[in-house]
């Protein structure tokens, strides 16, 4: 089970694994705590890898990805 139950996470879905890797790099460079995980079963994505982040960081994550001009497929909150 994901680590701490009280921590809320979100995931970014990307179009490809290489986008996910780049997404990980730019968000880490922005000082954000992220982690590449398999796309959770409740979401569908052609790329099997998603970027998990702390939900309170949502705006910062979107901003970091935008600044790097990265396209994202979707951003979801993890229930």
């Amino acid at each position: 089970m994901p680590e701490n139950k009280t921590v809320e996470y979100g995931v970014v879905l990307f179009r490809s694994v290489s986008h996910a890797l780049r997404g990980e790099r730019v968000t880490q460079e922005a000082g954000l705590k992220v982690k590449l995980i398999p796309v959770p079963r409740q979401f569908s994505s052609n790329c099997g890898t998603a970027l998990r982040f702390l939900w309170p960081d949502e705006v910062a994550v979107r901003l970091a990805l935008e600044e790097a001009r990265m396209e994202v497929e979707a951003i979801h909150r993890l229930e």
Binding site: M1, P2, E3, K5, V17, A20, L21, K35, L36, I37, P38, G48, T49
Partner: protein, 200 residues
């Protein structure tokens, strides 16, 4: 008196932890754990079997009753036609001989191994032991991207063994962050005594 552990609605590893505590307190008395997910059912059953308890599984609506007993009680339930008894199984061992999953594309292999170890926390059954050898030992040292996942597994009672020779060879002996540094005797015995060995 049968002690009842109602673990419905609880997230992993709570059902396992509560059952373990109840078994310790019960001594020889039977314990029944009520769960409502296949993951909890598998993980509680595995832990109990490993600790020498018989497990009888009884489905009741959305819930599953796991009747845990030393001798007899499980057989009685079986005779009453209420439950099936799970076969005894040897330990489930995951043998990780590389820091990557598969061969051919290194960067992809990194992602796949990280994904695999993360997913072990979310699927059933829970392995009993993870054995790390060769470049696999890079996953148990400081700075490894999977330490958090390995810690969650360890918290649920999964043993983590890391090959000491390998750590020494890659000069990371001082950087071990999780698990037990082990030798080839332990590793060979773990593999040979396993019910099943899985190599990602």
């Amino acid at each position: 008196m049968t002690k009842i552990v109602d673990a419905r609605g609880l997230a992993c590893p709570q059902p396992v932890i509560l059952t373990k505590k109840a078994l310790t307190e019960a001594g020889q008395e039977p314990v029944t754990t009520i769960v409502d997910s296949p993951t909890a059912e598998a993980n509680v059953s595995r832990m109990a079997q490993k600790a020498g308890w018989q497990v009888a599984v009884e489905a009741q609506g959305d819930a599953t009753y796991l009747h845990l007993s030393r001798e007899g009680t499980a057989a009685e339930n079986l005779a009453l036609g209420r439950a099936k008894v799970l076969p005894a199984a040897g330990p489930l061992v995951v043998f990780i001989s590389s820091d990557r999953m598969g061969r051919g594309i290194d960067e992809l292999g990194d992602i796949l191994m990280r994904a695999f170890l993360h997913t072990l926390n979310e699927v059933a059954p829970l392995p009993d032991t993870l054995v790390f050898v060769n470049s696999g030992v890079r996953l148990v040292v400081e700075g490894s991207p999977v330490l958090e996942d390995l810690q969650t597994l360890a918290d649920q009672g999964v043993d983590i063994l890391a090959c000491g020779t390998c750590l020494d060879y890659v000069e990371l002996s001082e950087k071990v962050a999780i698990g037990t540094v082990s030798n080839m005797y332990d590793i060979a015995e773990t593999l040979l005594g396993a019910g099943k060995v899985v190599t990602p």
